[in-house]
Each structure stands twice: as C-alpha cells, then as structure tokens.
C-alpha cells in the first residue's frame, strides 16, 4: 500500500525528470542556453500559453476539453486593443470579463444542455474566431504609442523579470492553491474522477463545470491582454493552434486526459518543456521550425503512453 501511494504521488515526477534531462542536454549542447537572459526569454515566451494551459488543466481535470482557447485569446486581445488607447482599466477588465463570460457559456452549454465538451467548445472556437475577424475587418488593431503604461504589461520588466512571467507565476500559484486547498478545488478532482458519485455526494456538479470553463475563459482573457500589449496590436489571427499547445502541455505535465488526476505543477513543467524545445531549435539554427511540431507530437505520445501504462499498473496492483 505504501508503495502504491508513492507511485500515485509520482504523478509529476515523470515530467520533472523529462524537464531535467532536456535542461541538461540543452546546457551541454548549446553555449548560450544557460544564461539568465535566455532563460528569462524562454519563460516570457511560454508565459501566455502557460496561462492558457492553467485554465486547460482545470478543464482536463474534470474530464473536459476546451478547443476554444485560441479563439478566446484572439477576441479578448482584439477587445483589449480597442480600449488600449482610451482606458487602461477597461482594456484589462473588459477582455477578462469577456473571456470569463464566453467560458461560462461553454460551461452552460456543456452542463445544462449536456453537449459533449469537444463539440460545444469547437462551436465556440469557430464562433469566437469569426467574431474577431468581423470586429476587426480581418485587419489588426494597433495599440496607440501613447498607451505607455498599457504596453508595460507585455513588454515591461520588474528588475530582471519580464512582467508576463510575473503574472504567469502569480496565476500559477493561485491555481495551485485553489486546486490543492480549497473546497472548490477538491470538487474539481472529485468530478473528474467520478461524476455520478460526486452528484450523489451532494456536489452541485453543473456549477463546478460552469466555474471551470469560466476559469479557462478568464485565463484566455488574461493571455489575450498580455499578447496584445506585447505585440502592440490586437490581431484576429492571434492564438492560432494554442489549444493544441495547451492540451499538449497539460498532458505532458501528467494530468490524465481521463480526468481526476494531475495538477498545474505538472502543467508548468509541461509548458517549460515545450518552450525549451522551441528555444533549442532556434539555437541550433539550421533545423526547420516545423520540427517543433514533430517533437511536441512525439513527446505527447510518450506522455500518454506512460500515463496509460501507469494506470494499468495501478489497477492490477490494487
């Protein structure tokens, strides 16, 4: 029994080990890799997808999936660009609200009308992307040069640390705490592990679901604001393919796609692994950047196979 317990708590040991291997390899292979500047760079590059992946982790923990994240980043990013010149407060708050609202709609459709998450969020993905094209007339919306404070969100530094990285870490910490130490967090795990039982234990299953998809939307809103600030423009094509990246990071991080097991700590390392791969390809210089996709795919497969094997081992031991 003790051994079993240990296996279970190893959930994110795998991803941490993979991270370390990759980190050491990169340090040995590429001179410039292990420098404060480069590492901060990697962190900044992954911070936005990382924030989206935090929300995705909640969603996958309840056995769901959110395909709309990339599109939600785009809509909220565009909305942020509209207000960037007028009011910084609105340029931050409105996109956050919009993201959370659209996420809540996902949740309501999934919980109330019992539509499978794949379909519901797929529809949202198409709809939100369409909306961002219409709102911008397919052009990008520039953030005025005068919005100095606003542009700090994506481009600023606090000492040596880029602001997006600080926001990422803050959100990561909050999410970790919520999942681990609050009643709501535990309900997320319960729901993902056995929905019917959760219902019978008196958990308001629909509420939890709607909250989780709202959180995912909220994270997209945050990522959208940062991205717009960083690019200096709200682009309707922003966030293309982020859903894949976020799902990959979550799965590589050890959160089971079958729900109930995992957490944001693993996702953090999953995101870092993806970021390091991109970075290594850049440093290498001659490799085509499409290699990134191939490597991500392979890693994802490995992660999923390892998960399945562990699941099997635990079942047969018990």
């Amino acid at each position: 029994m003790k051994v079993l317990n240990r296996i279970n708590s190893m959930e994110d040991k795998g991803v941490i080990a993979a991270f370390l291997v990759l980190f050491i390899t990169a340090t040995v292979m590429f001179e410039p890799f292990f420098s404060l500047l480069n590492i901060m760079n990697i962190l900044r590059q992954v911070s936005m997808i990382g924030i989206v992946a935090i929300g995705m982790t909640f969603v996958i923990l309840i056995k769901g999936i959110d395909l709309s994240v990339g599109a939600l980043v785009a809509v909220s990013g565009v909305l942020s660009a509209y207000f960037a010149g007028r009011s910084m407060v609105l340029a931050i708050l409105l996109p956050l609200l919009l993201g959370a609202l659209l996420g809540a709609i996902n949740g309501i459709i999934i919980a109330r009308y019992r539509i499978v998450p794949f379909i519901a969020t797929f529809a949202m993905m198409i709809g939100a992307r369409g909306a961002s094209y219409i709102a911008t007339d397919t052009k990008s919306i520039a953030v005025p040069m005068t919005a100095k404070a606003y542009s700090k969100i994506g481009r600023g530094y606090a000492g040596l640390v880029p602001v997006p990285v600080i926001i990422f870490f803050l959100l990561l910490f909050i999410a970790y705490y919520i999942l681990k130490n609050t009643s709501f967090g535990r309900k997320v795990y319960a729901l993902g592990s056995n929905e019917e039982a959760s219902l019978m234990m008196g958990i308001k299953v629909n509420r939890v679901k709607i909250a989780v998809y709202s959180i995912s939307g909220l994270m997209c809103g945050a990522a959208g604001v940062i991205l717009t600030s960083r690019l200096g423009a709200g682009q309707p094509v922003a966030g293309m393919g982020w859903e894949i990246q976020a799902i990959a990071a979550t799965a590589i991080g050890g959160t089971l796609l079958s729900g109930g097991v995992g957490g944001v700590k693993g996702t953090f390392f999953g995101v870092l692994i993806l970021g390091m791969i991109t970075n290594m390809i850049n440093l290498q210089g001659s490799l085509n950047s499409w290699w990134q996709g191939i490597i991500t795919g392979v890693l994802l497969l490995i992660a999923i196979i390892v998960q399945a094997q562990e699941g099997r081992r635990i079942v047969s031991l018990s």
Binding site: L4, K187, G202, S318
Partner: protein, 509 residues
C-alpha cells in the same frame, strides 16, 4: 402528534417500460430500524432515490417530521436530515479516504483553506471507532470493497441525520464487519435516529430490524413488525409464491474419487497474500473457498485466471502443465472468471443486456465475421428466463437495471461461454432469495454437465449448501479442507479459528 418520522404516501414512479413504483405507502417510525424487502427490481432503490432527491416522483407525497418535502437533490435531502449510503457505492476513486469522508464539507480556516490535519485526524478516529486502522491518505481505489463500504458509512454518519438510509450495505462485508455495522446501527437507534436498512440476507433482517415493509413489482404487499412474521411468510410475500420451493438444504454428498481431475495447483505463492496453496478440483465438482476477508480467496482466483502471476508454484489442467500469464491464456484453457467487482470490471453500462451477456462468447454467435442477431437474442432470452432477469427487454441498456439484475447479467455472460471451469467470486452478492435458489440450481446443473466450479462466498451457509468440498484459507494459507459429513458452518468457523491459533503459536515460538 404522531411517532412517525417519515410518511411517504401514494408514491408512484414510471420509467420507460417499467412501473418501478405503483402507489406505494411507506412509513418509518422514530428511532426504529426499518427494512425494505423485495426481489431484485422490486423498487427498493427507486424508493430511496426518490426520498433522497435523485429521482423525482410522478405522484405522491413525502412528509418528514410532519412537514411536506420533495427534495430536488442530495443536498436538500441532507439538509432535511436524511443521510444515505447508496447501493452502488458512490465514492471518488482518485481522492483519499479522508477526502471522501469530508468532500463538500471540509473544515476550513478563515481564508477558505482546507484544514488537512483536522480532516486526517478526524477520519482516522472515525474509522478507528469502527475497528479499522488504516492510513486515511490512501486513495480510495487502492483499498478493498469492505473498507470502502465503511468509508461510505463514516461519511453518512458524519452528516447530522435523523434518518440514515443504507441500501445493501452488507453485501460486501464479512461477518465481523457486519457485526461492527450492527453495533453502529444499534447506537444510532439509541440516539433516536431511524435507520432504513436494505439487505437480501434474511438472517440480518431478523437480527437487526424492528419492522419490515415488503414490495413486489413496485407495489406494496405488506408491512409488519419483525417479531410478528416468520422467515417463510416473509419470503412468500416477497416472491408471491409459497416459500417451500426455495428453501433447500445441505447438498447430498457425491463420491468424486473416481472422477477425473481437472485442475491441480501446487504450492501457489504470490507476494504476501498467498503462501504455498495446494488445490485440486475434479470434473463436475463444486469446490468452495472459505475464509475471512483478506485471507487470499480472491487473490487465488486471480492467479488461477492468469490475472495475477504466481511467484511460485505450478498449475496443471487436464494433467498438462500450463502457464497462465494472462486471462487470455486461462480462457483458452476453458477457464472463466465471474468477478466480484461488478461495476469496475463487469458491466458495460451503455450497452444492452444482450450485448453484455454475449460479450465474452461473441465468437459463438459469429459466422464468417458476421454475427447473428437472432442467435444473440435467443441466448439472451434463454438466460433472461433462466435467471429471471428483470428487464423490459433484451435491448434495454444494462445501466437501467436494478443492482441485483445487473449481477445476474454478468453471471449469464460467463455461463454463455460454456467453460470447462468457472470461478465464481461472490456470484449472489445482492441477489434476492428467489433468484439465489435459481442460481443454485443453475450452478448445480452446470456441475452435472461436468463443468468444474470454484465458488467464493462470504456467506458460509451458502458454501455449505452448494459445495461438494470447501477449502478454508487463513491469511494466505490453506488451513483445512472439509467435505461430506464434516462440512458445516461450525466446522468452517472451527477450522478458521484453529488456523488462527496455529499462527499465534507459530508467532510465539
């Protein structure tokens, strides 16, 4: 002012194709232990689910403490003071024992942070009160069915209730654990809490209950004080027939010494659970495995089915040494295994009764890659009739059947496979008395056809009634075998105690 705690009047509930409850009146008095009896599918669980807000009734009224109520969900029922342990245990596999006890009402500090220490200490204590010492941080899926049942119990008790509902809580418990449970029930009763207790084991009903309400086919057939009713009367009210037909006695001794040996296992060891067990079974023989929980019965069965590997020992089937590395190896050798874990390993909830029955024997009804729907229905209908499986039809999804009827479907699946050797792990758990005797007959007729049977059961009377020979296990060792005249419940208990004493002496040396 009445002394009734609960009054359900004229309650009806219809599911597509079944009238699960038909104008049922059901009353519980304050501080009594009340039993709801009826065959599988009589409507017991449905009544409870209406009471606890999982289903909504079509008509009727519910009064609790003189006040009308109609709970819309479990939370509302809990708030009204009804705490429930459902038949299909509803706990969360990936959370710890402690969390399962406290989920949804964790003690929190000012910042909303869960106080883990408190949770661990409290749940450890609560389980200790029931005589269970266990690390409460273990995940629920890593502990056995019996302890899970106790966890559900602790959870239910933790809710401040004036009615505790228990839907077949004893089906996965052994005698000792049942005693613990009964102590808890008596305790509740002393505090004036009413208990609704459901079980298919008559002896339990007569031991613990004050009053009984009997349902048949969704209709109320009677209500009585336990001391005013006899076993026979109760059974015949439940099944609507004379009880004579189902009361059977000990099996007549048959001489197997001339029959061929089907399987011999020698020195089977595996981890700490099995320590050098020898067992042989002849063709057509029914061998029982008796022992307390954790004695290694299920583990031995899994080894024989290739689901676990023995570290040591050898297995011969029909005189040839076999290596069972995988269930597929065992199935090829004609072995079938009807598992006790119905929900986890047995049923495919969204498939029909017919598909669930023919799942393992698909090749029998398939010709040139096409499977014959007609044959499938034939087989299905045969077993529906033979085991009196209560379902609106062969095509109904199995998840809509009552617990006991699901169990019968699983049993039918393995019977349809026509194996040489079948391992039945608690085959009649949750099955009503009438169907039990049907299953008894079925097992016997299989044996008559030459199929060897290994039967695991926590109910010793059943072993005595059904088996030709019983092997008694104690902590992973075989401590005795009983057959013929010597086979009785007392003898089994005696053998277990002797094994226990021998162990003690061994340990003292």
């Amino acid at each position: 002012m009445s002394d009734f705690l609960l009054k359900m009047t004229g309650v009806s509930k219809e599911f597509p194709g079944v009238k699960a409850l038909n104008n049922v009146d059901f009353y519980i008095r304050k501080g009594e232990v009340h039993s709801l009896m009826g065959e599988n599918g009589a409507g017991k669980s449905t009544l409870i689910k209406i009471l606890t807000g999982i289903y909504t009734k079509d008509s009727g009224t519910i009064e609790l403490n003189g006040r009308q109520m109609s709970p819309q969900n479990v939370l509302e029922a809990q708030a009204a003071g009804i705490s429930t342990i459902f038949q299909e245990l509803n706990l969360i596999p990936d959370l710890s024992i402690a969390e399962n006890i406290f989920l949804g009402r964790e003690p929190k500090d000012r910042f909303g942070k869960i106080q883990w220490k408190k949770i661990y200490v409290k749940s450890t204590e609560a389980l200790k009160d029931l005589g269970i010492n266990i690390d409460v941080q273990l995940k629920l899926k890593d502990i056995g069915a019996a302890i899970q049942q106790m966890v559900a119990l602790v959870r239910a008790l933790d809710i401040n209730a004036n009615l505790v509902v228990m839907d077949e809580p004893t089906s996965s418990l052994d005698d000792n654990e049942v005693k613990v449970l009964f102590k808890v029930i008596r305790n509740l009763k002393e505090r004036g809490v009413s208990v609704l207790f459901i079980s298919h084991r008559l002896s339990e009903i007569f031991e613990i209950c004050d009053r009984v309400t009997i349902l048949r086919d969704g209709k109320l057939v009677g209500e009585s004080l336990i001391r005013d009713i006899s076993h026979g009367e109760l059974i015949s009210k439940m099944i609507g027939k004379d009880s004579e037909s189902i009361v059977s006695n000990k099996k007549k001794a048959i001489d197997f010494s001339t029959k061929e040996t089907y399987l011999t296992a020698n020195g089977i060891s595996s981890g700490i659970m099995l320590k050098g067990i020898d067992l042989s079974i002849r063709k057509g023989e029914i061998v029982g495995l008796a022992g307390l929980l954790g004695s290694g019965r299920t583990e031995l069965a899994r080894v024989l089915f290739g689901d676990d590997q023995a570290a040591n020992g050898k297995i011969e089937i029909n005189g040839k040494k076999v290596s069972l590395k995988h269930p597929a190896d065992a199935i090829i050798n004609g072995v079938a295994f009807c598992s006790e874990e119905r929900k986890a390993e047995g049923i495919i909830p969204n498939m029909s009764v017919a598909d669930n029955i023919t799942l393992a024997s698909f090749s029998d009804i398939t010709r040139f890659g096409f499977f014959s729907r007609k044959k499938q229905l034939q087989i299905t209908n045969k077993y529906i009739k033979q085991l009196s499986i209560k379902t609106p039809g062969a095509n109904r999804e199995i998840k809509f059947l009552s617990g006991g009827n699901q169990q019968k479907v699983i049993l039918a699946r393995w019977l349809a496979l026509k194996p040489d050797f079948i391992i039945l792990d608690e085959p009649t758990r949750g099955i009503d008395v009438g169907a039990k005797s049907e299953i008894d007959k079925l097992i016997q007729s299989m044996a008559n056809e030459g199929i060897s049977i290994l039967l695991i059961s926590s109910e010793m009377e059943e072993l005595v009634k059904r088996c030709d020979r019983v092997a008694v296990l104690y902590e992973g060792e075989k401590v005795g075998e009983l057959q013929g005249e010597e086979l009785s419940v007392d003898a089994i208990l005696h053998t277990i105690t002797a094994g226990h004493n021998r162990k003690l002496q061994g340990a003292n040396k």
